[in-house]
């Protein structure tokens, strides 16, 4: 285990990036994630690892800087929060279309519009169904602790390069702002240009006589369709990356499905519910895309009912229903507008919507 620290989730993203040998971070301030860039600026990784940290003129610029850096085979990333993430949709679609690896952290706040700066999970649809145009997906990782904010940076880059795809760390204001114990990862050196060429030589635009070029454009529909099918094939391959956590499910009759901050609340709710004799467990999707549908089907179809607990008006519930093929009752519980539900109201919802309800 690495160095023990008490840090904010946002700060950990920065520290983890330096330690993961990230080559470049391009960002723009927005609450509740500005500490990511601020921490990097204080840490001055350019002196330590040579990492580039640049404050861009906007989120549109950030994501296009990420696009430029990613094309060079570099490990590049940005971070933002909901409105800023919306501005990145065109760029993300380009990155997905050009099949480039990168990492984007979205520390979600409540929307729509300017909304609130409090934590939320209302960008679930935007992140998982492709907020940008065209048929593409991003891998979405949902940390539920400061420790996972650390761990998922490395994981995200691994997946990004494995599949040449954007990976989004879908966090929220609570996890970004809170401090917890964290064991930091060890330092990994940045790759040299030679190493990058070895790893990505057939596509990276590092300067070459190979005429490597990066584009998402194809005017010939027949070829464009092949590109689309190739992408779809990749998304199918990705399904095996589905990650999840089960908690107290061995004897469960009911199931919470929840990710991120909401999943933590559910653990407490399980405690409270079990005190009342309700056998409930938790299924926590860690990858929101690919959604762990097969695994949830296995477990979920054995239940009497499933409660999708979300800090939004009910978005993941669609994926939950699809996963269990509507074979068991699935209901939603949660809060909106930046409010984190309390453990007991989740128990109440379980009782009223599922146990008493049907």
């Amino acid at each position: 285990m690495g160095e023990l620290r008490l840090m904010k989730g946002n700060e950990v993203i920065a520290e983890a990036a330096i330690r993961a040998g990230v080559d470049g971070y391009f960002g723009y301030p927005i609450t509740p994630q500005s500490e990511v860039m601020e921490t990097l600026m204080i840490r001055k990784p350019w002196e330590e690892t040579g990492m580039v940290v640049l404050q861009a003129e906007s989120e549109v610029a950030s994501i296009n800087m990420v696009y430029g850096g990613a094309a060079c085979g570099k490990k590049v990333m940005t971070s933002s929060s909901s409105p800023g993430y919306s501005l990145m949709q065109e760029g993300l679609s380009y990155i997905a279309g050009a099949e480039l690896p990168c990492v984007v952290v979205n520390v979600v706040r409540g929307g729509p519009g300017l909304g609130t700066i409090q934590p939320s999970q209302a960008d679930y649809f935007q992140v998982t169904k492709g907020g940008g145009h065209g048929d593409y997906h991003v891998i979405a990782l949902a940390p539920n602790s400061v420790q996972e904010m650390n761990d998922f940076v490395t994981l995200a880059f691994d997946l990004a390069f494995k599949y040449r795809t954007p990976v989004v760390i879908l966090s929220d204001g609570a996890i970004g702002q809170m401090m917890e114990k964290v064991y930091l990862s060890d330092f990994v050196p940045r790759r040299t240009e030679e190493e990058i060429r070895k790893e990505c030589g057939d596509w990276c635009t590092l300067g070459s006589k190979q005429h490597n070029y990066i584009t998402s454009l194809e005017l010939d529909s027949a070829i464009m369709e092949q590109r689309n099918l190739h992408l779809q094939k990749k998304y199918e391959d990705m399904q095996k990356e589905a990650r999840y956590e089960e908690y107290m499910t061995e004897d469960a009759e009911y199931l919470f499905v929840a990710f991120g901050s909401a999943s933590r609340i559910c653990k407490k709710s399980i405690e409270l519910a079990r005190e009342k004799g309700i056998k409930v467990g938790l299924f926590r999707p860690i990858t929101l895309y690919p959604f762990p549908s097969k695994q949830l089907y296995q477990l979920g179809t054995k239940m009497k009912g499933i409660l999708s607990v979300e800090m939004n008006a009910g978005q993941m519930i669609e994926d939950v229903k699809l996963a269990v093929e509507c074979k068991v009752p699935v209901e939603w519980a949660g809060r909106n507008g930046g409010i984190i539900p309390s453990p007991d109201e989740i128990v109440v919802a379980l009782e009223s919507k599922l146990i008493g309800g049907k």
Partner: protein, 181 residues
């Protein structure tokens, strides 16, 4: 053991760093900890508060609606958090600037006149350490030695010469806290 604390006051009273020291102390004592600030637009003079949880179990929700202890350092915070102390819990406050004293009967109420003590000690910056001392006296969730370790961790090395002063303040706070009946 789980202790859920809210510390609330004006920005600039050292609320956030007091919370951070408690959290760090918890780590030194091998506990799970969670520190969650209220956050918002950067506006001076507004109220600031932080939730700190120290526990020997995994911590679920970082945001709470009820607390074992509320440490309250101004009137707006009193107005907001008195009601959120769990029955049987603790409310600790500095009477300076408090115009309406707390009225609940089902909780324990303590008072620490940290503003005055700090002024008397000739250093207003140790205000929050005095409050911390008072808190630890009534809720000794972490040992002083771990607090000092936590303190050493949470303040930059170049300020370590101030550690004895802080230790002093913590002790003084413990000596001056009084229960309000």
């Amino acid at each position: 053991m789980t202790e859920e604390i809210i510390i609330a006051g004006f920005g600039g009273q050292g609320v956030l760093s007091m919370g951070k020291i408690i959290a760090y102390s918890g780590i030194m004592q091998d506990l799970e900890v969670c520190w969650m600030p209220s956050y918002g637009p950067e506006m001076r003079g507004g109220t600031a508060n932080v939730t700190v949880i120290v526990s020997d179990k995994q911590i679920s929700s970082p945001i709470l609606h009820q607390f074992d202890t509320a440490i309250v350092l101004n009137q707006p915070s009193m107005d907001k958090f008195e009601a959120q102390v769990k029955p049987g819990g603790i409310l600790l406050y500095d009477p300076n600037g408090i115009t309406k004293a707390p009225t609940r009967k089902d909780i324990k109420i303590y008072k620490i006149d940290a503003t005055e003590i700090a002024a008397n000690m000739g250093n207003v910056k140790i205000f929050n350490m005095i409050v911390l001392g008072a808190y630890l006296k009534v809720r000794p969730v972490v040992k002083l030695e771990n607090v000092m370790k936590g303190l050493a961790k949470s303040i930059p090395a170049r300020h370590h010469n101030l550690l004895p002063l802080n230790e002093d303040a913590i002790k003084t706070g413990g000596e001056h806290v009084v229960e309000v009946k």
